[in-house]
């Protein structure tokens, strides 16, 4: 590290920073060191693995899209609307971010489970979410959506309403203003929100196993497969973990600085 580039950082802080970096890096190094690389082919070609991988991608991408569909409007409303009870709504929609995911799973069961307040009506319509891939998507959406709301609301609040006001004086309807001004300017935040939500959904475990269960080929996503393998075949668990880590790393590299730049 160059002395000129970091003026005024006390040595003690630098030491702690190094310790922090080591703490994050060591498990990754451990994973790479302990991975039975020779088994890579067999683990990856197992049917449970491919199914879990495909399911994970389908579930996480669907969840990320659902997060945008509902989270962007919610972030817009929270940042710009002035509605009664808005502060309460903001606090409640952030709850999945801080609540334990397993609690989220229990809450989802209470709402959408067979005897849940909504689930029993869905059951009448022949729709059942628990223990299905749809349930896994719902669970991942539930935990990841606050991240989209935060990104969208933060992006809007950092800018003010000057341009929307200008659009209004130029005769634009709220819909045109949204389409031509607000959303295009929010693009970087929406892209970042999608990626963060997707990453969160990809790693989702607690709410998924509680609400959707751990049915191989139906609801067993990669993290659940890792958990199961750990109890029977630790080597396979490590290989699967390396796989997940690789996907995450590829994401970070693809995004580079864009995620946190704005």
């Amino acid at each position: 590290m160059n002395g000129d580039a970091s003026p005024g950082i006390p040595r003690a802080v630098l030491a702690l920073a190094l310790a922090g970096a080591a703490f994050v890096l060591l498990p990754i190094v451990g994973l790479a060191a302990r991975a039975p690389w020779s088994d890579l082919g067999t683990v990856l070609s197992r049917e449970t693995t491919t199914k879990a991988l495909v399911l994970s991608l389908v579930v996480s991408l669907s969840a990320a899209m659902l997060c945008l569909l509902a989270g962007v409007p919610l972030g817009l409303a929270l940042a710009r609307a002035r509605l009664p009870g808005q502060a309460v709504v903001r606090a409640l929609v952030m709850l999945p971010l801080v609540a334990p995911p397993v609690v989220g799973g229990v809450a989802l069961l209470s709402a959408f489970g067979r005897r849940g307040i909504v689930g029993r009506w869905l059951a009448h319509l022949g729709v059942s979410l628990p223990f299905t891939a749809g349930g896994a998507i719902v669970a991942a959406t539930f935990v990841a959506m606050p991240l989209v709301i935060i990104a969208v609301e933060g992006g809007l609040r950092s800018r003010g309403v000057e341009l929307e006001e200008a659009a209004e004086t130029l005769g634009a309807s709220p819909w045109l203003t949204l389409r031509a001004v607000t959303l295009p300017l929010l693009r970087p935040q929406i892209v970042a929100a999608f990626v963060i939500a997707w990453a969160r959904a990809l790693g989702e475990f607690g709410a998924t196993i509680t609400f959707a269960g751990n049915v191989s080929g139906r609801t067993q996503t990669l993290p659940l497969a890792v958990f199961e393998a750990l109890q029977t075949d630790p080597g396979a668990a490590i290989m699967l973990s390396v796989l997940l880590m690789g996907v995450s790393l590829a994401t970070l590299v693809a995004l580079r600085g864009r995620l946190f730049a704005s």
Binding site: E162, E165, A166, E168, T169, L170, G171, S173, P184, L185
Partner: protein, 355 residues
């Protein structure tokens, strides 16, 4: 009157209560010190700020008051904001065309009309540029075009020249005069620069502390400013003319009705069109030809004397000069209307800007 507005609103302890009226084709200069409420008036007239009371009528249609509040986007009002507020994601042309797009006018016509206006305002070559790549003057023109394209009945310009450098300011001032001259609606120009206001606006409204303290032509305000701000900033002598070099450091300013000597720091090209300002407090009045070193001595008859905290004397010379003096000097010199006198001031007291 085609615009009749009584703007009443308050923010905390600040209270705004201003009446503004204007006829078709008129350009009003809205001036006042910082915090006087100028931008608040603009926001209220645009409908961006709800009135606490009062009303606004434009072309006989009530936009505010009597329980009516016409939505901002339905008002025939164009705004050029001080910070311009161009859409950074749209090209210059698409910015200009935006109001037509909002009015659901077909795309071909939208582009054609925006292109024509861009040409008229001298930015035809910059149509495809995003706002971030425009110079200050170009961005100002795009903002002006965007506000004009829907042919508003009321055009609000908030400090349209303040962000520009000297050269761009001169061009923009000339352009604004031309554009507003052919504009059949009403324009309200907010500015803190007396030269801008008096060269662009036919009538000046002075706002101080949320209230209108004076409303009149620049000439009326020069003759009899009703507040310290008015005499300091709006009540200045203003001469428009051609500047020609005379001798090192001095130039001759030929106005329509006389001539003056002006100190110039840099050599200038012959025949430069300029506007010169002179503060009335820098002018001395004498009853006999003065013997001092002042380069400018103008003889004439006193055409008006008005008395406030200080006295304002208008000398009908070539050119006419307004002087401000203490009540003591007024009495000592026994200056009354109809008396012949002399005004003198140094060549260095004149401030020159390109016209």
């Amino acid at each position: 009157m085609s615009l009749s507005a009584h703007v009443r609103t308050h923010r905390g302890s600040f209270e705004l209560d201003a009446t503004i009226g204007a006829a078709d084709g008129e350009t009003i200069g809205l001036v006042g010190p910082n915090g006087a409420g100028k931008s608040t008036v603009v926001r209220a007239l645009a409908g961006l700020l709800a009135l606490d009371g009062g009303h606004m009528t434009l072309d006989g249609t009530t936009l505010d008051g009597e329980g009516i509040r016409v939505p901002v986007r339905e008002r025939p009002v164009g705004v050029v904001f001080q910070d311009l507020r161009l859409f950074p994601n749209l090209s210059a042309l698409d910015n200009i065309a935006f109001p037509l797009r909002a009015a659901r006018i077909p795309r071909d016509e939208t582009r054609r009309r925006a292109g024509e206006l861009a040409e008229r305002l001298g930015i035809a070559t910059r149509k495809q540029a995003p706002p971030a790549e425009l110079s200050g003057g170009e961005a100002q023109r795009v903002a002006l075009a965007r506000a004009l394209i829907r042919r508003p009945r009321l055009l609000l310009l908030d400090e349209p020249l303040s962000a520009l450098d000297v050269a761009a300011r001169r061009e923009m001032r000339t352009l604004l005069r031309a554009v507003l001259g052919s504009f059949d609606g009403i324009a309200v120009v907010v500015s803190h620069d007396p030269v801008d206001v008096m060269t662009i606006a036919g009538r000046v409204v002075i706002l101080e502390g949320g209230h209108v303290v004076q409303d009149g032509t620049p000439e009326e305000i020069r003759r009899r400013p009703l507040s310290a701000y008015a005499s300091e900033w709006v009540g200045v002598n203003l001469f428009r003319g051609t500047l020609s070099p005379l001798e090192p450091g001095v130039a001759r300013l030929l106005t329509a009705d006389g001539e003056l000597f002006v100190a110039v720091r840099d050599p200038l090209p012959p025949e430069t069109e300029v506007i010169a300002t002179l503060r009335p407090s820098d002018v001395s009045i004498h009853t006999h030809p003065p013997a001092g070193s002042a380069r400018n001595v103008i003889a004439g008859r006193i055409s008006s004397v008005s008395i406030g905290d200080r006295a304002r004397v208008v000398l009908a010379g070539k050119p006419p000069i307004v002087a401000e003096l203490t009540l003591g000097s007024l009495r000592a010199l026994d200056l009354v209307e109809g008396r012949d006198a002399f005004a003198s001031f140094k060549a260095t007291e004149l401030t020159v800007v390109p016209a």
